[in-house]
């Protein structure tokens, strides 16, 4: 395969469009789930909340304004083909510029502060982004991006389980995390789970899981069954839409896994709200 040159500007434009689009247009799988769960929702207040969310998402798409005011911190998973060379700039700067332009020109909220503990000064352009890059074979760049709101991010948790906990231990930890979150992360939620790898790998997988459409399932039937069982059990908790009671607490559970160490079984639970914003593109 030959070296392929991609202009920094093309990267910027692609990233900009992805962040604007993901904030205006909700994923089809979410709309489908909101409608289906509305039919099954027992609480009248809950049904009303779900109708309002559907209406909200229609307004956002029609007027191209954000679904939610918390347009999140920008997260990108990049698969970078090893034959790609960036022309007229650097990859990292081109990505940051795309984020900057999207949040500036797209009427998105700037929610990033420069220092986590002491200064906490708004960077005013929503940068820096969180960029996970993997070098793959090929001459393309694939982006999977999302704006992650922190009402739900703050309800996430990770635990270094050990092998003897088994599948039951994994499920218990996931359910416990969702129960603790209760009405706070804007239910109905999407639960992203990462199992395996190391401490940071599990967390990364959990985030990636929240970026997967909820009408898909884990290719391994055992994990797919776990996803279905967890969704059913979460919806027995009663929190319901907006936490005001009901049988729609979650719209989907997505699990991603990775091989791990003989002594470990890390589990990360990344909670995402119904405003599960993600988009992908390849250049």
């Amino acid at each position: 395969m030959e070296i392929r040159k991609i202009k920094a500007d093309t990267v910027t434009k692609t990233v900009k469009q992805l962040f604007m689009d993901c904030n205006y247009f909700i994923d089809d799988s979410i709309t489908k789930a909101l409608k289906e769960f509305k039919e099954k929702e027992k609480s009248p207040v809950g049904r009303d909340v779900l109708s309002q969310l559907l209406e909200n998402n229609e307004i956002a798409a029609a007027e191209q304004i954000p679904i939610c005011q918390d347009t999140g911190m920008a997260v990108l998973f990049v698969e970078y083909g090893d034959k790609v060379v960036i022309e007229d700039g650097s990859f990292k700067e081109a990505v940051e510029q795309g984020v900057r332009e999207a949040y500036d020109e797209g009427y998105l909220r700037k929610s990033v502060v420069s220092d986590p503990v002491f200064d906490r000064i708004n960077t005013k352009d929503n940068t820096p982004a969180v960029i996970h890059t993997e070098i793959v074979k090929g001459d393309k760049i694939k982006f999977l991006v999302g704006g992650k709101g922190f009402g739900s991010e703050n309800m996430s948790a990770i635990k270094m389980l050990t092998p003897s906990y088994g599948a039951e231990g994994v499920k218990d930890f996931i359910l416990e995390t969702v129960r603790k979150a209760g009405p706070n992360p804007c239910p109905p939620i999407v639960v992203g789970v990462g199992i395996g790898g190391t401490f940071e790998k599990a967390a990364q997988l959990a985030k990636k899981a929240t970026f997967r459409p909820i009408d898909t399932e884990n290719p391994d039937p055992r994990y797919a069954a776990m996803e279905r069982e967890l969704l059913e059990n979460i919806n027995k908790m009663g929190f319901g839409p907006a936490g005001l009671g009901g049988n729609t607490t979650a719209l989907g559970v997505n699990i991603e896994t990775y091989p791990t160490h003989i002594a470990g079984m890390p589990v990360a639970v990344n909670i995402c709200c119904h405003a599960a914003r993600h988009k992908e593109a390849e250049i």
Partner: protein, 184 residues
Amino acid sequence: MAKKITLPITEEDIENLKAGDSVLLSGSIITGRDAAHKRLFELLEEGKELPVNINGEIIYYVGPAPAKPPYAVGPAGPTSSYRMDKYTPALLDRGMKGMIGKGARNKEVVDAVVRNHCVYFAAIGGAAALIAKSIKSEELLCYEDLGTEAIRRYEIEDFPCIVVIDSKGNNLYESEPPKYRVSD
């Protein structure tokens, strides 16, 4: 049917509101979230004057997105209220009459709501584009340096919310979920 309330809210309005009531608020409210609360609280602790008069006001926990013309404000849904729990009782004790936010509050806040005859409303988290339609204008009151977190005054019309903690201490987040809980 939603109850229509014109602000400023009266003691009688508050007396009549029950947890679970759907409400449409019209009139004016103030906004503030994490950083603004921290500043107000510190001023109170130091015994200093506040830069806004909170007496009789309802505060909305919000940090809106920028306004896309012709909107007065950008999408403006509620932010999680629990982060303000530390500061809320002091503000209620000083005459603030209510809050609009989302999510559970701690016992100190519920106690302060009852003690001061106040009310806590929830707006629907994530219904930000829909909520923005009921906000007609905004005016900066103070803390401009906080950007989206500055304290503003909103003129609202039929702003949709639900009473979740009423002046008697009834709390929808406590009372409703158990009704839909299914145990194996």
